[in-house]
Symmetry: C2
Subunit: 102 residues, 2 copies
């Protein structure tokens, strides 16, 4: 996939704030609109909006507009990208030298 260092930071920023982690926990029960998320969090509406933007930018959450509501849910594809990325960046190269496999 070859993500840049910058792109990797954008993905994992999703999980670097306690409120955002809490949002994941809430969304685990299924898609929810912003106003319902707001009810479960001690945050102002603009602050929630900001966090949802960070989450969507990461790809781990997707938003779906329906009339005046925004429905948010955890993205299985985004989660897969993040998993692959985490696996890749924490992998240790067995052999540094490709030709002799040493």
């Amino acid at each position: 996939m070859e993500l840049s260092n910058k792109q990797i930071t954008v993905i994992f920023k999703a999980l670097c704030d306690e409120n955002r982690v809490q949002i994941f926990r809430i969304l685990q029960n299924g898609e929810l609109c912003a106003c319902h998320l707001l009810e479960e969090l001690h945050l102002s509406q603009p602050t929630l909006s900001h966090h949802m933007k960070v989450l969507c930018d990461s790809g781990l959450v997707v938003g779906r507009k329906e009339g005046k509501w925004m429905h948010y849910s955890i993205s299985a594809e985004g989660a897969k990208v993040a998993m692959d990325c985490l696996k890749e960046i924490t992998a240790v190269n067995e052999s540094e030298c490709k030709c002799c496999n040493k």
Copy 2:
């Protein structure tokens, strides 16, 4: 494992900074001491020391003291914890109601 929101943020803060992501890329080739890491990064020695502390706090990197050198490497166990955590936090509950599996 049941990690708190706070603990989760500590893990993923490791990957929220471009320099730290670069450190992972370097450590993928194997254990390295701080002074050699420093050669490959455009950072001051105290700044690197700060980043290594963040990385060790996350559990994704471990340090090993040998004389006056600190050797750092990627932790396979830490990576596993992070993977499990990411998987858990991005999982969507199939059934909200335990009794009827609906």
